[in-house]
Structure formats: structure tokens, C-alpha cells
Symmetry: D2
Subunit: 431 residues, 4 copies
Amino acid sequence: MIPRYTPADFAELWSPARRYAVWLDVELAACEALEEAGLVPHGVAARIRAKGLVLDVGRIDTIERTTKHDVIAFLTHVEELAGDDARWLHRGMTSSDVLDSSLAILLRDAADKLLARCDRLTAALRKRAREHAKTPMIGRSHGIFAEPITFGLALAGHHAEMVRARARLESARQEIAVGKIAGAVGTYAHLSPAVEERALATLGLRPETVSTQIVARDRHAAYFAALALAAAGVERLATNVRHWQRSEVAEAEEAFTAGQKGSSAMPHKRNPVLSENLCGLARIVRAAVVPALEDVALWHERDISHSSVERMIGPDATATLAFMLERSAGLVEGLVVYADNARRNLDKAAELYFSEAVLLALVEAGMARQDAYLLVQRNAMRAWAGEGRFRDLLAADTDVMPKLGAAKLASLFNLDHALAHVPAILDRALA
Amino acid sequence: MIPRYTPADFAELWSPARRYAVWLDVELAACEALEEAGLVPHGVAARIRAKGLVLDVGRIDTIERTTKHDVIAFLTHVEELAGDDARWLHRGMTSSDVLDSSLAILLRDAADKLLARCDRLTAALRKRAREHAKTPMIGRSHGIFAEPITFGLALAGHHAEMVRARARLESARQEIAVGKIAGAVGTYAHLSPAVEERALATLGLRPETVSTQIVARDRHAAYFAALALAAAGVERLATNVRHWQRSEVAEAEEAFTAGQKGSSAMPHKRNPVLSENLCGLARIVRAAVVPALEDVALWHERDISHSSVERMIGPDATATLAFMLERSAGLVEGLVVYADNARRNLDKAAELYFSEAVLLALVEAGMARQDAYLLVQRNAMRAWAGEGRFRDLLAADTDVMPKLGAAKLASLFNLDHALAHVPAILDRALA
Amino acid sequence: MIPRYTPADFAELWSPARRYAVWLDVELAACEALEEAGLVPHGVAARIRAKGLVLDVGRIDTIERTTKHDVIAFLTHVEELAGDDARWLHRGMTSSDVLDSSLAILLRDAADKLLARCDRLTAALRKRAREHAKTPMIGRSHGIFAEPITFGLALAGHHAEMVRARARLESARQEIAVGKIAGAVGTYAHLSPAVEERALATLGLRPETVSTQIVARDRHAAYFAALALAAAGVERLATNVRHWQRSEVAEAEEAFTAGQKGSSAMPHKRNPVLSENLCGLARIVRAAVVPALEDVALWHERDISHSSVERMIGPDATATLAFMLERSAGLVEGLVVYADNARRNLDKAAELYFSEAVLLALVEAGMARQDAYLLVQRNAMRAWAGEGRFRDLLAADTDVMPKLGAAKLASLFNLDHALAHVPAILDRALA
Amino acid sequence: MIPRYTPADFAELWSPARRYAVWLDVELAACEALEEAGLVPHGVAARIRAKGLVLDVGRIDTIERTTKHDVIAFLTHVEELAGDDARWLHRGMTSSDVLDSSLAILLRDAADKLLARCDRLTAALRKRAREHAKTPMIGRSHGIFAEPITFGLALAGHHAEMVRARARLESARQEIAVGKIAGAVGTYAHLSPAVEERALATLGLRPETVSTQIVARDRHAAYFAALALAAAGVERLATNVRHWQRSEVAEAEEAFTAGQKGSSAMPHKRNPVLSENLCGLARIVRAAVVPALEDVALWHERDISHSSVERMIGPDATATLAFMLERSAGLVEGLVVYADNARRNLDKAAELYFSEAVLLALVEAGMARQDAYLLVQRNAMRAWAGEGRFRDLLAADTDVMPKLGAAKLASLFNLDHALAHVPAILDRALA
């Protein structure tokens, strides 16, 4: 998490202050559940809450330098502030009861923030897709002119992908909203499933099915995989923007703000730097998946190797994806579309994209597919080589005309026909 | 996919013969839908089906060496076998309509096979967990003796993890069971959404929301992520078997078959080689996730860079996971559990795992938590150093006894109490 | 390793027949060294060699199904063929002495084959770079026209990168050419460093500094990292070919063979499919690095988790890179360069690439850099918007002309000057 | 880079203040070279240096918010401080001339710091290996008792691995110490190779062979691969410490400082948390390799997607590895070795590790290897099952004794013989 790529709410979410505040929430929720179960005297949690404790991050750090144990340092500090009642906190619990339930809260809250940003991005894609539903452009496969699409169709495809990404994030959010208050090895030796359920419900979490010392790490790995999948969707969008903006294509461009400078040496340049940046950041989010998977196979009832990994990838991957979703939403909202250039490129394709219509017509007229293919290819190749317009070459081809006739041939060169189903696709995708 | 790690049904699933057979299924399903839509004369598909075509893989390969295009080679061969009717096949379609719908079928079928193997593994875990529900063993965190668990509890944790893995595979199966019959750039230029829907329904697939030339690759990336998550669950299980089997622990052992040899140099050795092998294979399945994520951001309406990746990781990751699930199911079914050794190790822990009970009793008796901690630690450290039994040292500690009394102290050293909630956890997990 | 991407010599290199032949080489080399040390009677190895053993792969597989141990199965079969002398083989050795020394031989030989293919690729790049040393094209940063380069310069950059890749492969080859004949835990309990050194020298290997049961796996991880770095170099080259070939750019094109078909639907298409394929394969080679790194931290004196990984990534990564180097060499050799199109694109850049020359001239004439920047940008933006030729707009700008004058301005628009140092760069790179 | 895992010198190295200071170094070195070449008036750099500029990070950030270009913001600020002379800075250069040369300096300096920490770790390993050269312990393969080694031998193996890791870092340092002062697309359009060479020499860098707009990224990928290889070496060491410390083994232990607490629930616990932490951090360093490889294939003469990646993995991977090397050096220096426990575990192996000596003696006495194997295994299995001491069972075996005789048999059970070559290995490794 570096300032450059960290939204403010994520800087706050992953701050030490927030972390310790959530730890206290967990301790108090557990305490209340223990009170209800008669394992802790009534009123302890209420009295501590009433004090409105303000935890001192620096003080906890100082204590940790001696104890070399963060939760004990935290509890010691709480005892400093809350006095005698504090000895009832953490009763029968292990550090991971606090840490893992807290991590679940933070990752769940991060997911909620990501979902909201997904919504902004899909809204932008939906709006721009509708706006350009009928803006024709040449579709490209392998970077080579293929058949016509519309700009709106391309955006609708990105919309559909981000809707899927959102669904996976939603599912990962459910999987991660799981805590544990089950003691040192998950046996509730000094607790009970009922206490856990009550405490976690207060926090908006469900209990882990079978805890070891910790919540199982396949849940976290699934979470990071969902982040990477969303990032990959943004990467595809950004990759396409980069293609659309390249000098020879010039069909769309990132909005360029007043005062912005594209190059220290070449003042005329307007570079798709936001999109390139998004492609780089997707690599960062993606890179969290393998370490998260490596964290799953902990030894016996747990080892702590996952912890350092999560301290880094937890903030990094969530904040970076949040930044990506935000940036890409802004990118789509402000994207400058050059419909004229798109039309110009379409024209460059020299109507070769109607070759398939011709091919089908020849087959319908009785030719074997492979023969028809060769016939069409022959004329297409000549048109591509600049020896004439495709439709004119076909009209002049004595193997073609007897099969089709002039009227039929003319009818095949019809852009509206080629795009006739696009509105239905958009309706399906953007509903 | 190497023979050593490829189940027979996966060798068949990913064979060229099966691939081409599925291609033909897709072509014929599309043809029937086109017939119904009036775009192809009635009866074509039925006549071709009636011929019972036997495709010749070698012949297709030969043709491909000239065309350098696999689908065209396939169609050419079909035309050789089916004669004139074949010219109606592939009408208005692009290669990827066939390839991607076929890949969806193969990955969906692979998922079904994986789900069945998951079921065998979870059944084995459930059975053995029940069997050892009350077999006590020492729980270990950081590899250090912690508090007692049961062997059944450990297996129930693996069960819960594999149940989650199965649910993710099931979800990935739904996401991948999506084809397309939408033409060169997904616009249905010579087709229609209705034709696609009809054709795919025959094949048990749904249509892609918005196709480009291909089905979007985030679906495939999600699929491979689900495979890796399942593999990570197996890896955790295998890692624990390795720990249980190590010479000093000896709590469980892979079944050793007659004739098997552990070492060419040390004839007495019985090594957990199956489990080690599973850990290695988890790395292989995990390694497919990043390439699959890198495949998402294809250029414009598609580039073909994903294809070579999928040709390798598709068979490799699915077959390897199938092998892993099979092997781990057999491993669990045959696992030899040494309850006596588990008990012996538990005894070595010298009842220190009751330290928390003592700690809690001291707190209940009025001590501050941190004071009680130091008191317990003092005696625990001495017990650990071999200076006496933990309960005896506590009984002799003049700071402890006034707080607790002999009867209370004795009551704290109770294994049944420590494990009292285990049956409830198992019921929750194995229901 | 799938047939499609496996060169014939790599299919042979990684065949079971070759593997067992190398095992026998290692056993015989060790036997000779043991004979020399007086630990095995003289003449054993010579007599076995004289028999010209033809190992039966199927027979070894059959035996392994009982022993579940590949080296023991191999030795049993050798004993079947060689008779009584065979009992002296493997004397004091552990399986890994054979396996790891053999793997070193195979990976070393694979490296040699890769180095030879690197040489073909760098030769092709060198030749084509020289050929197009002076073919001007527009350089692009961020996909946006920047300043002129030459096609030869671009190729020279790829040449330099592949030369570095080759050096790393060479270094990895040295690191991997290390075997061990040191017994079960590397202590030479029934062997000696002298025997090991003698045996390995015969095989062209050096001894591991400190063996455990095996050769240390950081060597293998370094090897796979070197493969991935070479693959990344090929990926950059292929990515650029894809850009050069895209319809709007059309500056270079993969050679298209007679009979080849670009698309089943669009007969005019010539797609950069080889280059796209290379980009996909780079992901495969790259994906071997993390598993190889995960293999390093084996437990104690070894566990066998690395073995399954290496059985898959060893053949896959080496054969795939070999295929990539071969394919990319052919690609470069046959690349069709459209110098006219490159010139046309350069012209489209509208001489804006001379903006920096103008900027510098203004600074030299006394302006502050940021003022000059704004002045140049102002005119560049207008030229880019199609409001006139850049040089004309500057000539008409009353803030510019007093500083520069017409003659100076004209002198700044000089392509030869911009490319003056290119020959020197090529000399430096291709020497 | 999070405070918890960032050594102070790396926090400084990667601070904005240091970054801008290095940028200024590069600008001034280039300016001096330009002065020498007569392209900038003499004395400019000297006058700016004389002013002792103190750059204001906050001010540069403020300017960047308008320009959205960091180097232009930096130059604007320098102009604010240095006045008129500043307009000569950056003459003919592009931003990446500054950025990439600066990054080379920072990564080179990071490498130097890492090399120094490697030296501390290898020194610690060397010292402790010598100290325990003759401390016997049981070697383990697959976690199962194998043959005896010494603790010093195990450490010597780690030493050898870290020596190799150091050599790779050294080589990566050479590869990365490469800058460029070659202009917008590497053609020296307004510069010259001589100016570049002079400027870079001042900075301790060499020129890139062929620049595009930037230094080629395969160099950086190789650098991150070298970091990951070193981290993997530390991970293997840490994994072994974890095994040595586990309760049932207890052969070595991380030093436990006064006041440190192992567990909030179990006061007696001393957990190998430093080693577990190192295993987790290795995953983080390893995770930088793939993004770095993905950065290589930039488009045309560059895109900026690599930049965001490097902003994160540059500091993260170097600082984390530095922390790992430091922590692991401290770990080895303070490691508490329990030679008595090691001896106790060795005894538990019940002399079965002499089975190979017996096997060899039987073969020497004329038995076929496979027959001898079965004979030894038979007795070993019984000994392992607790039916008697291995040597006694053999002495009572009527198939064995006729071949060996009592004296020969007794001579085979000799620990000194088994470890006879260890001193030679240590001499070779630690020289």
C-alpha cells in the first residue's frame, strides 16, 4: 500500500488505529457473550464501553517491543486504560480468536468498499455502452480487421465481465465473513459454540465450521483470487483503451486534463498512461494469489507463516484493486470517443468484412464450402492488395457472378444487416 | 498431462479423438438449430448423424499441416466423410464458435469428474473423522504442543475445507458451462441469439452474455482458481499426514503395500511419499492460475495467445487435480492411525495444556490476568524443563494454592472437559 | 510437453528410454570409480558395458508397479539383463545419486540445445537488423508516435536482449551441471568424495558442494528462472510483431505460407498467430518459476515433493522454450517488412517528433525550458488537431520566429540528424 | 514495504527525499557530460551544485497534481530553487533517462546492502557449522530417520546455498547497474553515446546496449529472480529450524528473549515464530518474480505499465529480503542447539541406519543385491516394530550369520565410520 495507489478510505481501513479498534470490538463482543453464558460477571463489557477507550497505538507498540506479542501488548494497554474490569477480557480465548475475527471484519469491509466501486464502474460502462450502442467500429481479431461491431457492444462486453467479477467478489465476501472464538486449538475448551455464535453475530460474522487455532486459510485464498479476477477484467478494459488510443487507431482517448503533460520531451503527446498504469496494477493484484494459496497448508493446528503474507497482501491487494476500480470508472466516464475515426478505420477495412456474407451466399447457391472459400479469398486478397474494391472485383469475377447476380451481390454489402442483433445483445447484457 | 499422474478417464477426455467428436457434436447441434431457423435445409444434420462418422485424427493432422488451421482441417475431413451435406455445416460460424463451445463441454465434464472425486474424498474424511472422533491427540501450533484435540477433529477440519472446495468447483462448473455460436465478432451477423440458444441447449450449455470472437476468459481463470483452491486443501491434508508420519511423531502412516520398497539404501524406511507427492502436485495445479489470469486481457475482439496456454493447463490442471483427489481419498481410506502413539505424545506434553484452565481459575479467583499469566508461566517453564509434574509444581507454589485450593486445582486437569465440545463440532461439520 | 509444442529432439531427450539410458550411464560411471577405489572388483563395469544392454521400458514399468520405487525397478531389470555382475552396481549409493546426477545431465543437455537455438535467433536478429539498419519508422511510446527510429534499431534491441538471455542460460547451465554420488544423506558413508569426483567427471558434471540426500534445489530454481527470462525476451519480440502487423500499422508481417488459412470465416485475414502463440507460451514457461522456487525448501535432508513438479516442468519448460526459440527464429528470418508502410506511418506523425529539436533550440536561444515547452506544445497541439503542418504553424507563430529565424527552424526538421547515431548503436549491439 | 519488515536503511533508500536527490545527481551528471561535449555552457552544473539545493518533497507533489508528470514537477521545482541555470538541465533528455538511471542506482545500492547482509548470514552459518561439525544428529529423508549426519553438516549445506544466492545477487547487481541518457527513443537524437557514457560513469553505471525509451526490463526481472532465489534459501533454513524446534524433535530452538511471550493462552510455549515469519516473507519476495517477468514485454519503444509494478515490488522485495537476511543471521547466531536431544533422537533410530552397511557387507560376501536387501529389510522391520535391537536380530538370523560372522557384524555398527567424511565436506564448503 503506497500513498500513490491507496484510496483514503483504505488508508484508514488498514491503519493501526482501526485495527486496534476492531480488536476491542471483538473482545467486547466476546465478553458480552461470555457474560450471557455466565462465564464472566455481568456488566463488564458495558462498563468498559462506557469509558470510551481511546487506544494509543504508540503505547501498544512500545509494550510489544518487550512482549514480542501483539495481542498481549494490546490487552496490557487495554488493562492500563480500563482498569480491573479488563482482566475479564479475552477469557478462555486465544490471540487468533481476536486476530482472525478482526481480519474477517476488515476484509469484509474492504469487500463492501470494492463492491461499491464495482457499481460505479458498471454504471459507467452501462451508460457509455448505451450512448455508443450504434457507433460502428471495425472489430479486430488478432489485431486484424474482422467484421463490424459497435463501440457500445465492446463496452457491453466489459460490463458483462465486471458484473461477473462483482458476483465473485460478493461470493468471496460471504466466504470471508467468518470468525472464530473457539480457543487455542478450536475445541472451545473454555468457551462454547453458543458463546462464539452470539459474539460473532454481534460483529456480523458467522462461525468457522471447524477451526484449528485459526480460521481456515482457503477462505482467504478464495478472496484474493476473486480480487485478481476483478483486476484481470479491468486489465482487459485498460488494454483495449490503450489499443483504441494508439496513434494509428485513435478511436478513443483518455480525458486529458488542463495542465497535464504527456512527455518531458515531446509536448504534443497524449498518452494512455492511466490505462497502462491499470495494466501494471493488475499484475500486482494478481501476484497476491499464489502467496495466498501457499498460506493454506499450514502445519498442524496452525503456524504463523501466513501472517506476514497477509499483513502485506491484505492492504496491498484490496487498496490497489479499489484504486483500479475507481480509476477505471473515471476513465470510462471521461473517455473521449472519436466516432469519425472509428468510421474511417471501418472504411479502411474495405468491406472485406462482407466476405463471409458472400461466402454464405455462394454456398446457398450450391457451391461446396471449400470451393466458395477459395473464390472469396482470391478476390479478398486482391482487394487487400489494393487492386480494387472488393465488391467490384467480385462483380468482375466470372466464377462468382453466374452464381449470385448483381442484385444479390449488392444486397450482401449491408452494414445494418451486420449489426442487426447488437441492440438485443445490449438489452441482454445491460438489463 | 503425463501418464504417471493422469487418470484414465482424463486421458480419454483430453484425447484428440474426443476433441474432434465434441467438435462434431457442436457443429451438428448448430446445424439443427440453423435448420429450425430455416437457414439450412431440413434434414442435413440428421443425415450426417445417420452416417455415424468415424473421424480419423491422423487425417485431420495431415490436412492441418497444409492449412495451418485446425478447424478448417477438421471441416475438410468431415466433408471427405459426409459428402455434399457437409457444406451446410459451420454456416455463418467462426472457428471459435466450435472451439469455445467444445472447450466449455470438456471443462464442464472435467468438473463433473472432479466433483465425483471430491465426494469420494469427503466421504472418506467423514468416515475416518467419525471413527476417530474420540481419539485424543495433542494439538500443535507452531509445531509446539498446545492443547488436546482428537484425530477425528483434525479430519473434520479437512472435511470442511474440502466441502468448501467442492462448492467452489460447483460454482466454477456453472460459470464455465457457457458456449457461443455468435460468429466472427459475436454479433450474430449470419446467425441469431435464438439459433445460439437452441444449439447450446442441446449441448447443455448457456450462451455467453456478450461474446467477442470468443467466450470471455475470466470464466476460465475463475475455473482454474477453483482447481487451485481444491489442490491447496489437499496440500494441507497431505502436509499434516507428513507430520503425523514423521519418525518422532508416528501418529499415522500411509498404508504400505506388500512389495513396496521405501528406499534403495535403507530397507526399514516407510516414507510418506504419496503425501509428499500431493504437495508437489498442488504446486503444479496452483501454477495454472496466473497464466489463466494473464489470458484474460486479450486484444480487441480476441487474440489467440490464450490457446496455447489452455492446450497445456487445461489437461494438466484438471487431470492432476483428479489424480490428487483420487490419491488423497485412497490415502485417507487406508490411513493407519496409531492411537497409542498419539496418546504417548499427548502424555509428553506433560499436562501443560491445562495451563489455561489454571490461568482462568486464577483470574476467576480474583487475580489480574497478567499476574496470573506470569504465575502460570513460571510453573509451566519449570515443568517443561523437567523439574517436576506441572500439577505438582502448582500444588507446591505458595502463590497459587491460597487462590485455588487442592480440590479446585485437581478438577482443572480434566481431558474430558477439554474435549467436551468436540462431538458438537463434528456434528456441525459432518452433517 | 504436448506434441504440438515439442521439438523432436526434446521428445527424445525426455523419453523414458533416454532417462533409463542415462541412469545406466551414471551407474556405470560410479561403478568404474568404485572399481578404481577398490570398493568393487575390477572389470564389472567393462563387462556390463560390453553386453550392450538394451533396456526394456515396459519391463521396468511392470516391476515398478510392485516395488513402487522406480530406481529399484530399474536395478532389478538391469540385473535381469546383466546377470551376476549387476549386484555390484549402485554399491553404497542411494536412488538420488542416480536420479539427481541424471537429471543434471538431462537439464544440461537441454540447456545446450537451447543455447544452439538462441544462436539461431540472435543470428537472424543480427542479419535482419543490419538489413534494416536504415529503414526509418516512427518510434512509439505508450503506443503514441514519438520520435523516429529504424526498424533495424528495434531488432538490435531484441538482439541485445536475447544475448543477455543466452548469457543467463549459459550461467544456469553451469549451475545445473552438478551431480552427487554421496549416499543416503550426503555423507559418503560408504563412498568418498574422490569416488564421486571421478564418477561425475566421466559424466561431465561437478560434485555438489554439500549434498543432503539430493542436489540442492536452488540450482534448479535458478535454471527455470533463466528459462523464463529467455521466454520473456521472446514474448517482447512477439508482442512487437503483433503490433507491427496489426491492420492500421502494417509495417511487418509474419510470412504466410501457401495453403495457410487465416480464418474459417474471413478469407482475407492474415493473422500474427505465430507471435500470439509465442506470447501464450511465454506464460507457460514463466509459470514454472514459482513451483521451482517452492521446491527449494524441502524438509530436513529431503522430501520428494519436488519430484512430481520436476517431472512436469522439466520437460514442459525446456521443450516449450526450445519451440519458442525455434519458432521465433523462423519468424524473424521470414518476417516481411513493409518499409513503405513504415514510411507512411512516419509521415502521419506529421513531423511532431521534431518538437524536441525546436524546444532545445528555443532554450538555446535563451528561453526558460518550461516557457519553451508551452510554446512548442501549443503548436504541436494545433498540428495534431490538423490545423496545419507543424513547421508551418511554428513559422507563423510570432513568439517563436523572433527566437529562431526561418533558416534555423528549417534546419531542425532533419531526419538524418535524428538518426545519426543509429549506426553506432548497431555496431555496439551486433559486434 | 511496511514498517514491521523494513530495515531503517531501506526506509531511507526508498524515501521520496532520496529518490529526488538521486534524480538531481543524474541530472547534474548529465549536465556535466553535456558541458564537456559543448552542448551546454560550462559551469552550469557546478553553480547548481554549489547552491546545495534542498528539495522539498511536498512542493514537488503539489506541482505534480497539476502536471500529472513527476519528472516535469521535479524539474519545475529545481528551477524554482536553482533559477535560470536550471533551464540547461535535462537538455535533450527524456524523463526515463532520469528515472531509469536513478532506479538503477537505487537497485544497485539495495543490492550492495543485501550482499552485506548475506555476508553476515554466511559468517554466522560458517561459525555455527564449525562449532557443531561433530555434533551427531539423525539425518531424515521424508521426515523419516535415515542415516546419521552432524548438525554442522546441515548448517554447511545452508551455507553453501547462501553462497550461491550471494553469487546470483552479485551477478544481478552487475546486470542492473546500467543506465541510459539516450533520449526519447534511445537514438541520442540530441545527445550522443559519448555524453551518456561520461554521465553514467560519474554515477557508477554502464550504458544500456540498446535503449528504447527505457532500459530493457529483462534486467529488472533477472534482479527480482535473484532476490527470490535468496529468499528461497532462507526459507529452507527457516523450515529446518521449525522442524528442529518442534516439540517431539527439540534439537534446536530460536533464542527466546526475556519478557517475550509465546502465547496469550499457553504460557509455557516457545514457538519458532521468527522462522515461520521467514517462510511467509519468502512467499512475498517470490511473488515479485512473475510481475517483473510480465513487465518485460512492453509495447514498442515502451509503455509505462512496468512503473506501478516497480514502485511496489522494488521497495517491497528488496526491503523484505534485507529483513529476512538480517533476521535469519540473528537466528543462526543465537540458535540454541540441544546436542543431547539430537543424540537422544539418534538413539531412537535404533541403529537401523547401519542397515546399508550390513547390506553392502552381504553383497561383498557374495549375495545378490536384491536378496541381501530382503534379508536386511526383514530384520530392520522387526527392529522397527520393537522386537529387539537391530544388531541382535541380525546376530540371531541364521541366514545372515554364516555370511558375515560376529566380528564383521560388530564392525559395521560404527558411527565414526559413518561420519568420517564430514570434516572434508565442511572444509570444502566453508573454505
